[in-house]
Symmetry: C2
Subunit: 219 residues, 2 copies
């Protein structure tokens, strides 16, 4: 019984890592679609999000089944409940990658990235890629030194996000209102992606150390 249980927990864990890998791929492709106005790639990212949603639902059902059949306590219980939460955050990160692809599709054949902000968005995309890569690594190896990298990337993203809003509000902004909206939404998607990544990393830290340092997903 105990062995089956550990195998089931391991399966939930592997599913989380698999979802994180799919989110990393979705982000990479959505950024490519967003940067190069590639509407076909955008369409692929949008369609592929259903797979992430499906895996999340399956993982949640599996976790609930384990709760029901095994009645785990203490750390095993926390791992399972933590998995439910982490899967929700990862699924949401997939949605945000999809939103970035949707912006690309909406503006096609124009680019959704406003002129003058290309470098900013390129850096935001890079930071989000670091975050999901470190989140996936953290889920795999529980190396907590990764959390400080995730938090540093998130802090830089917050700064860049605030900078985009300042650019839009500045009298020197020459883009159309619609482009300003695209820039604001894209910036928000990149920033929220990072927030959810931080949230997952905090849950892993908590499960490893038993110490909770707060959460900031709620911004």
């Amino acid at each position: 019984m105990r062995k089956v249980f550990q195998e089931e927990l391991q399966k939930v864990h592997e599913d989380l890592v698999e979802i994180a890998a799919l989110v990393a791929e979705a982000l990479e492709r959505s950024v490519e679609a967003f940067t190069s106005a590639d509407v076909e790639l955008a369409q692929e990212v949008i369609a592929a999000d259903a797979r992430i949603d499906f895996l999340q639902t399956a993982l949640d059902e599996k976790a609930i089944e384990i709760l029901a059949l095994q009645g785990p306590v203490a750390s095993d219980l926390r791992v399972l409940v933590g998995s439910l939460r982490m899967s929700a955050s990862l699924e949401r990160m997939g949605d945000l990658a999809r939103h970035i692809a949707q912006l690309a599709r909406l503006r096609y054949p124009e680019k959704a990235v406003p002129a003058g902000l290309e470098k900013t968005f390129a850096r935001m995309a890079e930071l989000d890629a670091t975050i999901i890569s470190e989140v996936k690594g953290l889920l795999e190896d529980h190396d907590l030194t990764r959390t400080s990298k995730i938090q540093a990337a998130n802090a830089e993203l917050d700064e860049l996000h605030a900078g985009v809003f300042r650019s839009i509000a500045d009298p020197s902004w020459t883009g159309s209102p619609a482009l300003a909206v695209d820039a604001a939404l894209a910036s928000r998607y990149f920033e929220r992606f990072a927030d959810h990544g931080v949230s997952v990393s905090r849950k892993v830290s908590y499960l490893v150390t038993g110490e909770w340092d707060g959460d900031n997903t709620s911004n």
Copy 2:
């Protein structure tokens, strides 16, 4: 033991209703602050959100404790896991009300509602108020006729949200890019608030009927 358990479940349920009531209040006050550029009221809504966050954390801890100590199965287990998810949605609705208040504070002494869209935003606010009121009612009395009202309000909100984006993109739009961004963000907050309300109502339906009709929070 069984009696204690039922009392504990009942307490979780009451906490959910209390959080819903606080979210309804936060929405009402954030809309007032947003509509009338009342920066003090905006500040109050922003500060009051910490209470919702606290109650959600407390509810989650309580639910996990019950899972650990009572090892519930079948419908009790689903109710507890459902409560964890519903509390997360309600907490997020509180955040969105806070975001609306933050827009009001950011634009003060100007109004964040762009000229020409006052009626649209007034209607969006009204629909969100209906949604959170029906969600709270649904949590209290499990009257599933409420879910169709919630879904109808959400459908109208989606239409209005799309309309705001059309207005901003229209050549006749005369507001500044910064105002366009405010309108887009506010519209998105109102629309997401509704999505989370639908999500909670679907979870209640599922717990009452055992049938799942899908979820659309992820938009």
